[in-house]
């Protein structure tokens, strides 16, 4: 058996020394820049020369304010010209932009304040930039975190009359800090140098099929810009290219997904990158009448990543939209993580979707890849400059076809979690990044099939399991501290969903599942897909009593999550019998039910 070690093509030669230099070049390139699409489909164009000019004014104002080179400048702004002013303004001031996510309409503000304050503190931001509308909601977080120069309105900085500046940046200097998306309990600031970010955009460029001046690559994205995929994969890729990019705010897409597809058609878009759920949402919610006159035939690359790729959702998308010219070969599963700047592997562009049929039970139980009824998407081979290894528990490289932990190494891997040496050491060793994901190599390509790190990825956003587990605190019927939150991909579903395994007490009551669903939705904003009640002692623990989440998921998936035998041997026997019968009938059935 060949060892599960994959090597990408050589890293292409660096095109730019820093993002600052890339912006200077884009500004004089004469190429088309950014277009912002609003909810009524009106558009605002912003050329790269304008981006640079406005940013240099903000940079001057930041310098006057006292922002020093290398200091962090946090920004909370919706997708629009103000975001560009703040992000590139920070860079041209020699500072380090830290994009944070804006609050959700009708959303939960107390949690938002707490998380934003924590992110401001962790990145040691000197100042927070926002606009008049969102800025009104940031006072609380600013008060708690106390950035040295407070909260500033980016439009006022731009119009302050300060002399424009454009400081150069050292290739090895910190370029930006991005949070691994959405994780609120334990956010980790990923520190990326100019060199690392540019190594990533160079690698992505090398993977794009050739284009011509008459037929340039054109991305259309609704992804948030505080997330690696939107920021590096879309915005900074377009900057370093340099070329056009059409941007919609995430709320524009969520409000009416058809607007994304219509923007593709209007602009002749060729390229997208989005999580699995976005393609699923389009297939379900876009109506025929919204697609009148739409032509998707120029769409060449529909990258699908940021969460486990659902083969079924991808197929539903291409089936639904082939009528409007969408080509199935455009679908392209990709794999990456914020700690590697963005991409680790890419499936080959313009090739049919490659899937591996696996037996999910053998996969979870023995970590072996045997043919079966579940199709997993191959995420391809490492992007240029990147090496990937799948390692066994003992740390040796696994053979092909055996599940292990995925490690990645390359020039775009982060330097560190900013100011967190211990957390950094836990994932970086000798240049190798422990992704915390599980996968295997089959026929020279990587397949991602699970996760060992304690993270639930929903709609492309990372969540710590504690977010959901803590929401159950004090709920009558739930054994304190005896619940685990996990992510899993239901067969035929759109992507990863939330699973809660909950041990119960005597006063559980018949409505406990409903109450759990309600309290989790209310406190975390996520609706659990499956709530499984368990008798006390069922969840696996370490010898020191810590819950073993990945093991709990493995047992649940293989239907071996049994209560301790001494609790009720008779019922357990019945359970085994029923399991055996069900298997004999070869019918899919849910995990063992447990009376409470």
């Amino acid at each position: 058996m060949r060892p599960a070690r994959l090597q990408g093509a050589p890293q292409p030669r660096a095109r730019h020394a820093s993002l600052n230099e890339a912006l200077e070049r884009a500004a004089v390139s004469g190429r088309r820049g950014l277009t912002f699409v609003s909810a009524d489909e009106s558009e605002t164009a912003l050329g790269w020369d304008e981006v640079r000019e406005r940013a240099s004014r903000v940079a001057g104002a930041l310098a006057d304010l006292g922002v020093r080179p290398g200091e962090r400048v946090a920004l909370v702004l919706p997708t629009g010209p103000d975001f560009m002013d703040a992000f590139f303004g920070a860079l041209l001031a020699g500072a380090v932009p830290v994009p944070l996510y804006p609050p959700v309409r009708l959303g939960r503000l107390p949690e938002y304040h707490a998380t934003t304050a924590r992110m401001l503190r962790l990145s040691d931001a000197a100042v927070l930039l926002s606009d008049g509308r969102v800025g009104r909601l940031l006072g609380e977080a600013v008060l708690r975190a106390g950035p040295r120069l407070g909260l500033r309105n980016v439009a006022s900085l731009r119009e302050s009359g300060a002399s424009p500046i454009a400081r150069p940046a050292d290739p090895g200097a910190l370029a930006l800090v991005q949070y691994s998306s959405g994780s609120t309990v334990d956010p980790k600031p990923v520190a990326l140098s100019h060199r690392a970010v540019l190594a990533q955009t160079d690698a992505l460029r090398a993977l794009m099929p050739d284009d011509t001046p008459e037929d340039p690559q054109l991305g259309v994205s609704w992804l948030p810009l505080y997330h690696d995929m939107g920021l590096i994969g879309c915005l900074l890729s377009a900057l370093t290219y340099p070329g056009p990019l059409v941007l919609l705010g995430p709320e524009v897409f969520l409000g009416r997904p058809a607007l994304w597809l219509r923007a593709f058609s209007r602009h002749g878009g060729t390229m997208s990158v989005a999580p699995s759920f976005a393609y699923a949402v389009c297939a379900r919610r876009v109506k025929d009448e919204e697609m009148e006159g739409v032509d998707l035939s120029r769409w060449r690359l529909a990258m699908n990543g940021a969460e486990q790729v659902s083969v079924e959702a991808a197929r539903r998308f291409s089936d639904r939209f082939s009528r409007w010219g969408f080509r199935p070969s455009a679908l392209m599963p990709v794999y990456g993580l914020a700690e590697a700047a963005l991409a680790v592997t890419f499936s080959p562009p313009r090739a049919p979707l490659r899937t591996v049929p696996v037996d999910p039970v053998a996969l979870a139980r023995e970590g072996r890849v045997l043919p079966g009824g579940r199709r997993l998407a191959s995420v391809g081979i490492p992007v240029p400059g990147v090496s990937v290894e799948v390692r066994t528990e003992s740390g040796t490289v696994a053979p092909e076809g055996v599940v292990g932990r995925i490690y990645a190494r390359g020039p775009s891997v982060m330097d560190e979690y900013l100011g967190q040496p211990e957390a950094t050491r836990a994932v970086l060793d000798g240049g190798w990044l422990d992704t915390g994901d599980l996968g295997f190599v089959q026929d020279g390509e990587l397949v991602v099939c699970g996760r060992v790190k304690d993270v639930v990825v929903l709609r492309g956003a990372n969540h710590a399991p504690q977010e959901f587990e803590d929401a159950l605190d004090g709920l009558a019927g739930v054994r304190a501290g005896c619940a685990v939150a996990l992510g899993f991909v239901p067969p035929g579903g759109d992507g990863e969903e939330l699973l809660l395994l909950v041990e119960t007490t005597a006063d559980a009551g018949p409505d406990l599942v409903d109450r759990i669903r309600a309290v989790v939705a209310e406190r975390t904003g996520v609706r659990p897909h499956t709530v499984q009640l368990l008798v006390p002692g069922t969840l696996p623990r370490t010898s020191s009593g810590k819950l073993r989440r990945p093991e709990a998921l493995r047992r649940w998936a293989t239907r071996t999550l049994y209560p301790p035998a001494r609790v009720n041997a008779v019922r357990m026997f019945g359970e085994v019998l029923r399991s055996a019968l069900a298997l004999a009938r070869a019918r899919p059935r849910p995990a063992p039910e447990v009376e409470t």
Binding site: A39, P102, P103, V104, R105, L106, G107, R108, L109, R133, V134, R136, L137, P250, E251, V252, L254, G255, R256, R284, R285, R459, R517, A518, V519, A521, E522, T524, G525, V526, R527
Partner: protein, 83 residues
């Protein structure tokens, strides 16, 4: 200008067609607890109402809005103010 009844009807339509909810929606329902709307669901609902009634809902609007009736009243008063 829209009445609360019209907004309520719109909330029901959005819930059925865009949020794919099967349960009936009553004015007393709590947006988070009863309808279990997550951040994506809230955004879909807010943007849906904005598009229908030509109003702008802000993040701050969350403060006084707990139930479906609160939201209907809030949107209706906004359309009033926007006249």
């Amino acid at each position: 200008m829209a009445t609360e009844t019209q907004v309520l009807e719109a909330i029901r339509t959005i819930a059925r067609t865009e949020l794919e909810m099967e349960r009936p929606i009553s004015p007393e329902d709590d947006l988070l607890r009863d309808l279990a709307l997550d951040s994506l669901g809230l955004t879909v609902l807010a943007v849906g109402l904005e598009n229908r009634f030509r109003v702008k809902l802000s993040e701050e609007d969350a403060a006084g809005v707990q139930t479906v009736a609160d939201l209907a009243r809030h949107v209706a008063s906004r359309t009033e103010a926007a006249r």
